[in-house]
Amino acid sequence: MNIIAVTACPAGVAHTHMAAAALEASAKKSGVKIKVEKQGAMGIENKIKDKEVTEAKALILAVDTAIAKSERFDGIPTVKVSVAEAVKNPQGLIDQAIELAKK
């Protein structure tokens, strides 16, 4: 199962990267494949490719700011939360995304 995620926060340094690391760790535990794009102070890092968008079964948006190129994700089942939530409860978000993907 493939999940994609985008993390972004106002400063684009600390929370964006913590959230990404937390989601990656939880996804690994759950045995799902995740690609986390970070939209931060350095621009877009680890950009989600078109092919990965096509293959994605669910999207996690952990963002506190408007993100770039969100239209790419139209039609993908989405869990949208604050970036803090992804730091605090990454496993819960992965679980929700897995549920969405099953539908």
């Binding site: 106002p10 400063a11 340094v13 600390a14 929370h15 964006t16 990267h17 913590m18 990404a20 690391a21 937390a22 990656e24 760790a25 970070k38 931060g40 102070a41 350095m42 621009g43 506190d64 604050s82 803090a84 730091v87 605090k88």
Partner: protein
């Protein structure tokens, strides 16, 4: 990547005395001022508090990473403090904070290696083993080594 321009022994205080959030931030900001890394201590502190007001940087497990990106920062810096007594940080898990990693980021830093270092460090804090080693030591040299190792590690 080179971390030594961002942190050194004198930007680490493993025995902070303050018992509240503002006090801790103030003590750590003073270390930055001593090394002439800030134009204005007060506007730096204001920026840090603004970030905290938006959302706490106490992400749980006793660590907080207050940070501020501001024109008053002359040089990208990491400053570290440890408190024997926990400090209320309105942390996500409601636990007191014992370890603070404060990041000072110049306004014009966009896209530089310094940002990559800070980002990498932030991501690494999710790693429990890394956190435990960082929080348990009382030696500044250990802190510097741990940070250095985390920066030179390859991206996953």
């Amino acid at each position: 990547m080179e971390i030594t321009t961002m942190i050194n022994r004198d930007l680490i205080d493993l025995d902070l005395k303050s018992s509240d959030q503002l006090g801790v931030i103030d003590e750590l900001a003073s270390l930055l001022v001593k090394q002439d890394r800030l134009d204005s201590k007060s506007s730096f502190i204001e920026g840090v508090l603004e970030r905290e007001a938006h959302f706490t940087t106490g992400f749980g497990n006793g660590i907080a990473i207050p940070h501020c990106k501001s024109g008053t920062v002359k040089q990208a810096s990491i400053v570290i403090g440890k408190m024997a007594n926990g400090v209320d940080w309105k942390a996500m898990d409601d636990h007191d904070v014992h370890f603070v990693i404060m990041l000072a980021i110049p306004e014009t830093e966009a896209g530089t290696t310094h940002l990559q270092i800070l980002s990498k460090l932030s991501g690494k804090l999710i790693d429990e083993d890394f956190r435990n080693r960082l929080m348990s030591t009382n030696e500044k040299e250990d802190v510097l080594h741990l940070l250095n190792d985390c920066v030179i590690e390859n991206n996953n």
